[in-house]
């Protein structure tokens, strides 16, 4: 089996290398990929959209449908992850669970956990497999996280002028929450972003994107035609496209942030979303 796989892979590689003479060489200006529509994107996109970053203009304006459905893919992936691994909250999870009584400091051990008993009340949950956190790590991360989030918003909003946009900003924002979960514990993250909130945020991001598209239909133009945004906001056509791009990028960032946080919460806690990294 392994030998057959090796032969097949080597054969495929050999064929690809033989076909290499048909590829254009490194840095070729006249390569087939650069010959057709990309010339229009580079020469005209600033005129059309007032967005110096061609990548953002192509992503959210010329290829708006593609990006919209990519956002739906990210949303669906988070949903699929939830449906595959999330344990029902009324199922008792076997294992050892520790609870500390807040006023006396006594630790109670239970052999299984059902719904969290009295969260935020007299008993506080203690992780069984994670030692107490270093105060330096916790404090440093608590100080860094707001700046990471601010940078994420900058990357999102500045995507028109520099490398960035909704996908990148969303991923950085989600990374700040992953850092929170890793440096503190998963419960801190779940207290900040409840499951209900992240699910609503993921859906709301897709809705913002579709809603921006529907603005076009409401004004009698095509779906995702940002001329309608210019009309509604009372700005020039190109500035309207720039605004439309910002709207849909915001939707993308919301979905990507929420989807990655959902996936992290589920995978790190093996579906229970009570205890994990």
């Amino acid at each position: 089996m392994k030998k057959a796989a090796l032969v097949a892979v080597l054969l495929a590689g050999a064929f690809l290398i033989l076909s290499m003479e048909n590829f254009s060489s490194w840095g070729d200006i006249e390569s087939p990929a650069s010959r057709h529509i990309s010339r229009y994107f580079i020469e005209k996109s600033y005129e059309d959209t007032h967005t110096p970053n061609f990548v953002t203009a192509v992503l959210a304006d010329y290829r708006g449908f593609d990006t919209m459905l990519e956002t739906v893919v990210v949303f669906t992936a988070a949903l699929a992850c939830f449906l595959i691994v999330r344990l029902p909250s009324d199922v008792c999870k076997p294992g050892l669970f520790y609870y500390r009584h807040a006023s006396t400091g006594l630790v109670v051990r239970r052999r299984q956990a059902c719904a969290l008993p009295d969260e935020g009340g007299a008993f506080e949950r203690v992780d069984s497999d994670w030692p107490p956190h270093d105060v330096v790590v916790t404090t440093t991360c608590r100080m860094i996280i707001p700046f990471i989030q601010l940078y994420a918003l900058y990357v999102l909003a500045h995507g028109h002028y520099s490398p960035g946009g909704g996908f990148q900003g969303g991923v950085i924002f989600a990374a700040s929450y992953v850092l929170l979960a890793v440096s503190h514990d998963l419960r801190t993250l779940v207290n900040q972003l409840t499951e209900r909130f992240t699910h609503l945020l993921a859906a709301a991001g897709v809705l913002v994107y579709f809603g921006t598209g529907l603005l076009g239909l409401a004004k009698g133009a095509n779906f995702l035609d940002y001329d309608a945004v210019a009309d509604i906001m009372g700005v020039s056509l190109a500035s309207g496209h720039s605004l439309g791009i910002l709207f849909v990028e915001t939707g993308v960032a919301m979905t990507v942030t929420a989807a990655l946080v959902i996936i992290f919460k589920l995978l790190s806690s093996r579906g229970a979303v009570t205890e994990g990294l």
Binding site: M1, K2, A5, A8, V9, L10, A12, G13, L16, I17, M20, E21, F23, S24, S25, W26, G27, D28, I29, S31, A33, S34, I37, S38, R39, F41, I42, E43, Y46, P52, N53, F54, V55, A57, V58, L59, T67, E70, V73, V74, A77, A78, A80, C81, I84, V85, S162, P163, G165, F167, Q168, G170, V171, A259, L260, I263, L266, L267, R270, G271
Partner: protein, 129 residues
Amino acid sequence: MEDFLTQLTSKYNFWAYIVLMMIGLYAMIAKGNLIKKLMGLGIFQTAIMLFYVAIGSKAGATIPILLDTHSKELIDFADYINPLPHVLMLTAIVVSVATLGVALALVQRIFDVHGTLEEDEILEKIKNP
């Protein structure tokens, strides 16, 4: 032979992508462990992404962001690299992370049910439960 050597030197980047892609493909076919298969998938995807970004490159061009927005001169398309492959790969990277999450979720469920991640052991357990 001379032809082959000039190709080797002018298109060495494609060699790297093909080698990476074949490593990924081999891992996906031949490895028995599901996590190793996912690693192969990741390597394969990386090779595709590098390939796409490379075909958008232009010698002597800069990143696809307009340098001077006030200039009235016509923009020369040879000054900026092709933005289209970047757009395609930008979304592909995020989608690959999301789909990797789904794959890991499936792997977790498989481990919960069968207690192993080795493909042959899982098949054995399905045949003789």
